[in-house]
């Protein structure tokens, strides 16, 4: 496994035309602020494992974009130590199958995790996310927003676990899937395992077709049904950019989302 000590801004590219599997270990050293943009590209099926360790007081923002034109099996492990902060944005718009499994472990007190995943599913996309609170005063926010089209299928399973003794921790998850066609299938399994009393925990999940009242409202302003639908779908996926504090990157992502939705 390649171990990479992160510097302030890093760009990593994994090319499936150059290998069938990749293993990376990313280390965010103590007390630093880091930003990583990681893209998966190429035309072949590929397996990717990324282990990321945030040392004490490290702050890391990760933008993971999947452009691969082939199936991607992605295993992500994140270890957050004392007072570390991870912001993770995942852009999964590729029209190929995806198996994504992530495990985030809040190992040290004061750790903070925020994830936001945008999923466009024209095929089969399976997302499984586990968050373990293993220290007091830890915080997690997991957000998934998916749009399923045609005969696509999107399954999202999120498990947040607060272990005994992890008092004053808070864990929250939101998963929303918009099914854009009658043949599209969406499935959400929101799970909370809580073994401590002095905590905050919540889950929210919604699954369904576009809101007809919203569509009507937008049509009364002159938008056709398709134009209104497109705006709603882009609006569903676009907030993934909120995590990224980089205007150029956000504009690039915005264009990509608009192009994929069109």
């Amino acid at each position: 496994m390649n171990e990479i000590q992160l510097e302030k801004n890093a760009r990593l590219k994994l090319d499936s035309d150059k290998g069938k599997s990749f293993s990376l270990k990313l280390v965010a050293p103590e007390r630093g602020e880091y930003k990583v943009v990681l893209t998966v590209e190429g035309h072949q099926d590929v397996k990717v494992q990324i282990d990321t360790c945030l040392k004490d007081d490290a702050s890391l923002t990760v933008l993971l974009i999947n452009h691969n034109e082939g199936k991607v099996s992605l295993q992500e492990n994140y270890e957050l130590n004392t007072n570390s902060r991870l912001q993770l944005a995942e852009v999964q718009l590729s029209p190929f199958d995806l198996e994504l499994s992530s495990v985030s472990t809040l190992q040290g007190q004061g750790g903070e995790l925020t994830t936001r995943t945008a999923i466009l599913a024209d095929c089969r996309k399976q997302i499984s996310q586990d968050v373990y609170h293993k220290a007091p005063n830890t915080t997690a926010h997991v957000n998934n927003y998916g749009v399923v089209r045609g005969t696509g299928r999107c399954e999202v399973v999120v498990r947040n676990t607060i272990e005994r003794g992890c008092f004053r921790s808070s864990t929250h998850q939101t998963s929303r899937i918009l099914t854009n066609d009658k043949t599209a299938v969406g499935k959400i399994l929101p799970i909370l395992y809580i073994d401590e009393n002095d905590v905050q925990a919540s889950h929210a999940a919604s699954l369904g077709q576009p809101d007809e009242s919203q569509l009507f409202y937008m049509q009364t302003r002159g938008l056709s049904r398709n134009e209104a639908l497109k705006l709603i779908i882009v609006g569903y996926l676009l907030p993934v950019t909120e995590i990224i504090d980089d205007a150029d990157l956000n504009e690039m992502l915005r264009k990509e989302i608009e192009m994929k939705v069109a």
Binding site: L189, S213, M218, G222, G235, L237
Partner: protein, 274 residues
């Protein structure tokens, strides 16, 4: 000069007849106050004119400058010059006001508006409504107060410049100062654009700010009285009882929907996901 003409309009919702032969003509520059007790068809009339799929027209006609409105899709009605400011504007998370408004403005134009021109016009309109400049970048109506939502409806109206606008209880949710701001903007559009208006409101104070040229009372799906501003003043002072006695009619009682219980939480105690 635009003319909206409604003739003998009958409208049903789920086989229940709500409008029972409404006749109304609205010309540019006219302000029609539409009054009546709740649940008697005012919002139904406005939503039907705009083409809400829930409302089924069983007979009658609606034309705008002689063109058949009922044959138009909702967006075509907007492009033809109709506008509705809704009683409960929808929230659309993820879609910014700016993106939505630009798309709406472009839908009304042959060539897309230049970005600089759009931003300049939007900024001015936001300032006219005394809203914070950050409003453009917030998601459409999401987290807006009642008053902000109503001001946003007028921002949209000013940008789209309709020929005939329908305001459905626009004044509800607005404080005294905000009502004045909104009314000033509507009056400005009347003067500059010769805007025709149908205004649904229960409150005379709104009609004092936007003086109606016509007033109508809709009871049980029919317009039972028409007049000028004096009619709305009389209703504000005396209520509807005198009218019921005079016309020997009774108002439709507003339907109170029964409370539906979803039962207890579906969680199975002790269940574990495997």
């Amino acid at each position: 000069m635009a003319t909206l003409e409604i003739k003998d309009l009958h409208v049903s919702v789920e086989d229940k007849e709500i409008l029972k032969g409404v006749n109304l003509t609205v010309n540019s520059g006219e302000v029609h106050a539409l009054m009546g007790p709740n649940g008697n068809g005012k919002s139904t009339l406005l939503m039907t004119i705009m083409g809400h799929p829930k409302y089924r027209v069983t007979s009658g006609s609606i034309t705008l400058d002689g063109r058949d409105v009922l044959g138009m899709t909702v967006d075509e009605r907007s492009k033809a010059g109709l506008f509705i400011a809704m009683q409960y504007p929808q929230e659309v998370p993820g879609v910014t006001n700016s993106d939505f408004l630009k798309a709406a403005v472009n839908a009304h134009r042959e060539k897309p508006i230049r970005l600089f021109e759009f931003i300049r016009t939007l900024d001015k309109t936001i300032a006219d409504l005394q809203m914070d400049a950050s409003f453009a970048h917030r998601y459409l109506n999401e987290g807006f107060s009642g008053g902000e939502k109503k001001r946003n409806e007028i921002i949209q109206m000013k940008l789209l410049k309709p020929a005939i606008a329908m305001l459905d209880e626009l004044d509800s949710g607005l404080d005294v100062d905000a009502i004045k701001v909104v009314a000033d903007n509507i009056n400005e559009m009347r003067e500059k654009n010769d805007l025709g208006l149908i205004i649904v409101s229960h409150y005379e104070r709104f009609y004092e700010l936007i003086e109606p040229t016509h007033a109508h009372v809709l009871v049980n799906g029919e317009i039972v009285a028409s007049g000028d501003h004096e009619l709305s003043k009389k209703i504000d002072a005396e209520g509807y009882e005198w009218l019921y006695r005079e016309k020997n009619i009774r108002a439709q009682q507003e339907e109170v929907r029964p409370t539906v219980s979803l039962g207890t939480c579906g969680a199975n105690p002790g269940a574990r996901y495997e």
